[in-house]
Amino acid sequence: MSSDDGDLNVVAAEAGAADILADSLGDYVRMWWTRVRAGDSGALPVLIGLAVIVIYFQLRSSAFLSSGNLVNLMTQAAWIVALGMAEVWVLLLGEIDLSIGYSSVMGAVIAAWMVSPSENLPWWLAVLAALAVPAVFSGILGLLFTWLRAPSFVVTLGGMLMGQGLLLYLVNVAAPSSGGTIRLTSNVLNDIEGGSMSPVAGWIVMAVAVALGALFFIRRDARRRASGLAAPPAAVTGLKIVAMAVAGVVLVLISNTNRGAGLISVRGVPWVVLVITVMLIAWSMLLSRTRFGRYVYAVGGNPEAARRSGISLTRIRVLAFALCGLTAGVMGIIYASYLGSVSNDTNGGQNVLYAVAAAVIGGTSLFGGRGKMLGAVIGGLIVAVIYNGLYLLNLGPDAVNMWTAAVLLAAVAVDTLARRRNPSIGR
């Protein structure tokens, strides 16, 4: 290249910099709006939806925002949130896994059997088994789906029926004369939903988590600026950190208020909140900061492009299905802990549909390639709020299902419209 060309490029680089960088707040907002129109709106619109529903229920029933009910809500929401996060793994690929409603409970049966007095194995070994069983189960389904090139809906429908059969079988074997229910006898596992951190521990954990989160955002922005790249304006990052801190403080304040009846004082953040938070951070990091996570989005967005880039579709799909199963295993333990037992008449078919609803309400696209773990948490909370709020209003399952259906259809409509508006579709 001649020196002439080199000079030209320097000039172009300086002229081009203004176009390529998005430095101002205005640009940031414009970019955000581009993403909203493409359906990738982030958490804000869903959070606003959640707030609207919460305000409605509080106006109808003053008990809704009581400390006791809110903590109750957290424990009710936990399993839906966990199963929703599981479903995000496969929805991102543009696939679905219907089997996890049952495979998760299969894992829980085995865990309950392992910690039962007759076996008396350590609780952590039981947890490993409860995670491994659904992970392997979904991994095999993922492999079958990849080999057969059959729709995942049908393959995992088979998995769902198989899971239901295996659940009936396992409960019969593990607890032969129990009437189809195996009790969870481990105190540690029961405390996930039933127990709480001490109030002081709750504050410390929250403070550490918020501080680490803030440090993470600030450091990331600082490093981008140091390299001459556009970073979100300080105001945006500041707002995020403040929102995180406020959410943490409110959560701990609510949980540390005495919710006991009568003389017994019950206070503290339920352990399950910590379990969900840790899983949320781990899975979000895996999705957004590793090659594997990038490939999950790539395969969901355009499998052919991913394949031509040298990405092994089989590997990514099987791993994502296995991670879906693993996450469902966490849900199985939470579910068993919530109920204190595992029953062979668990409605895994309905549970998994609630999970898909949670993920989609939280902004995960049914068409693949778009969605976040945080969305499943908020979506799961919305499903649980509807359930909890309507029961407070003495309305039964009929109303719960109709409301959930309405919210789900709204979410699907938003998803589909965003896809249709996207100018790149149909080109």
């Binding site: 290249m1 490029n9 081009g16 993403r35 900061r289 090659r291 990038r294 052919e304 492009a305 790149s424």
Partner: protein
């Protein structure tokens, strides 16, 4: 004429095809094809439907193995059996469908499958800096932010990202399949400029096109195929539109100002 200088011991052709033939059953798709692709030059490959353009680029990009003939890469004979072998050599093909992930941003698309990592984490800063530099070198400056999803880009911008991606992969030979099909006038000009700058970066470029005026605007050399044979290859100034149309439709042209082909 063309401003190539040949340094001793270094062949100016990046890729030389000699007597390439390819049959699919009884159908002879390619017959005795000779073609040189020099570094730093744009070669336009023209031909009517069914002339064998696609088969030829599939042979070069490793999708089909030729039945006859030899391929020389930087003077050494090579046999390509898979697209991966071709891309390992430095041959990148941009097909018409571009193969971009609309849901990923420009940086992610440019590095797809070759992400930089640091401690198991994506090194977003290094990738963004490198992507930015490549786009600036190619003077692709119409995108607002390289962190916007590719799905929000125009057709010409998407083509630019796909081409920039091959530069990112340090391709030495870039094959573009109908890069200006389905683009408007402004966008076409943008892509043609991009192709010129790509060649300036010492990349050999092979452009497949139906569009004569685009090919004449961007090419240093013209290659015309007719029914699986190479009707003519040479520097652009040996051709005009009428000659090319003759060659594309009949395989010969009485009007061609040859005086011996430029090959040899």
């Amino acid at each position: 004429m063309t401003a190539q200088t040949t340094t001793p011991g270094q062949p100016q052709e990046l890729l030389r095809l000699a007597g390439i033939g390819k049959s699919f059953g009884p159908v002879q798709a390619l017959h005795d094809i000779d073609l040189d692709l020099p570094v730093g030059q744009v070669t336009a490959l023209l031909g009517d439907n069914g002339a064998g353009k696609s088969t030829l680029i599939k042979c070069i990009s490793g999708i089909h193995a030729p039945d006859h003939g030899q391929m020389f890469w930087q003077g050494k004979q090579v046999h390509l059996h898979s697209p991966k072998e071709a891309s390992d050599l430095g041959i990148a093909t941009v097909y018409q469908d571009l193969a971009l992930c609309d849901n990923l941003d420009i940086v992610a698309n440019m590095f797809l499958g070759r992400e930089l990592t640091k401690n198991w984490q994506l090194d977003e800063i290094s990738m963004e800096l490198a992507a930015k530099k490549t786009l600036q070198d190619l003077k692709v400056v119409t995108v607002r932010s390289i962190r916007q999803p590719v799905g929000s880009l125009s057709g010409g911008q998407r083509q630019s990202v796909a081409v920039a991606r091959t530069v990112m992969q340090e391709a030495k030979l870039v094959i573009l399949d109908e890069p200006t099909a389905a683009l408007g006038v402004t966008q076409t000009q943008m892509v043609l400029d991009l192709i010129t700058r790509l060649a300036q970066q010492n990349v050999a470029v092979l452009v497949i096109s139906h569009n004569l005026s685009d090919a004449m605007a961007v090419a240093d050399r013209i290659a015309v195929m007719y029914l699986g044979t190479m009707a003519a290859v040479g520097p652009k100034d040996q051709f005009d539109n009428q000659v090319i149309v003759d060659l594309m439709t009949t395989g010969t042209s009485s009007r061609m100002n040859l005086g011996g082909t430029s090959e040899q």
